[in-house]
Symmetry: C2
Subunit: 251 residues, 2 copies
């Protein structure tokens, strides 16, 4: 969801935005799973460049940076050290976040878990030669996951504004554990995990024209993997962003 200057970043509207982002993540999971692993994509020096993934990822990020992508407070680059300046005029994004938000970027953790843990579970083994397309699919999926996780900044801001009196003493004490406990709602988390699992079933089914003949068993991405993605990584890392943001909230 866009940081429209008219939108209210209430906890409710922030959750609606997260819900919408789930669809994008699942679409991108399905589109990456179209390709097998294609391990040459990730090998150093398979081509006359470092690796196809790194070449494509860093250069695409640089182009998007020049086109203004990272001026949005919702976007966070994976390789900030390589980015050229935007050539696009400033847009009045609403300034809802504390300025400390700019220094919260956990994309290195997201990168590591994606390639080391998620990808091997997501794709079949094999090689179909479509390395550039594979790297582009990795990029889109990683951008969608990163946006979702860093949206934790907006979640934290909304929670803080709802009950500043509860958060302020913990922030003053820089009490990470206390903050983590205060911002955790197991009921909401369980609902999110069940919803993404259901979405994986709905979006990953084979749709046929005959009513009730849709194949609801042979999903394009395993729904339990999507549950696990949120359970083990997306939700914990979002909360990590929330805590990091809150620790800076009174600076």
């Amino acid at each position: 969801m866009a940081a429209d200057s008219n939108s209210e970043y209430t906890l409710d509207s922030v959750r609606k935005a997260l819900e919408r982002q789930e669809d994008t993540i699942i679409f991108n999971l399905i589109d990456r799973a179209k390709f097998p692993l294609n391990s040459h994509t990730y090998e150093q020096h398979y081509a006359t460049i470092a690796s196809i993934l790194n070449f494509l990822f860093r250069n695409t990020e640089a182009i998007q940076a020049k086109a203004g992508r990272y001026k949005s407070p919702e976007e966070n680059p994976f390789f900030p050290e390589y980015l050229p300046k935007s050539v696009v005029p400033d847009y009045p994004f609403s300034k809802i976040l504390h300025p400390g938000a700019a220094s919260v970027n956990i994309n290195k953790s997201i990168w590591a878990l994606y390639f080391q843990q998620l990808l091997p579970l997501l794709v079949a083994s094999g090689d179909d030669g479509n390395y550039a397309q594979t790297a582009a699919a990795d990029l889109s999926l990683l951008q969608a996951i990163s946006r979702r996780i860093h949206y934790g900044k907006f979640v934290a801001e909304a929670k803080f504004r709802e009950s500043p009196k509860d958060y302020e003493p913990l922030i003053c004490a820089q009490d990470k554990e206390g903050l983590m406990k205060l911002l955790t709602s197991e009921r909401v988390e369980e609902m999110v995990k069940k919803r993404v699992e259901k979405k994986a079933m709905v979006f990953g089914q084979s749709v046929s024209l005959e009513r009730d003949d849709d194949d609801k068993t042979n999903y394009k991405v395993n729904p339990s993997l999507v549950y696990r993605l949120y359970d083990k990584w997306v939700i914990p890392l979002t909360k990590e962003v929330e805590v990091q943001y809150l620790l800076r909230r009174l600076d």
Copy 2:
């Protein structure tokens, strides 16, 4: 679907691949429709570059070309005149197509219809400042539509192999109308159009956890627009590719 060297390009397998590509097109329609029109994306000289769209599109294509994308017989660039050479070693894609296939590229027509006709129907008016993301969404969607339409080369090859005796005299006579008539199956086309409309309903619904509480009316992309996209543009342009391919088939 990848041009795996073991796969058979029968009419049946080609149609399965087209069916799978429908999902990708609809996912990308939904993801583009997340953003409003964002007309600054398309304006000349809004930024200190020709237009944000052109800058992002041409440079991203160039990076993907260098990473080997256009070595696949399923991929066709929009700006072939700007492409650097691939730096990736050759992959043994199956050589199923006649060499004349390489000269069939109708992306200029696809580009024109996309920006002049489809886009204004797909997105809401407005401006949320996310121009780079908008251009990236246009790129992914155009690539998916282009791949589907140029897959007509494989469709035509499969049809030709099924009944060469029917096609040969029309090809010798360079009879475009005769070829168009021979390769048209209104029954199949109607089925495809109804299926993509249904897929737009399934993938574009709001999924909620409560059974039977999914919102099946407020779709993220109008299903009748997806029907129309296939009816007016995707299917006719795929057949245009088929005819262009067949006219070269006996060269």
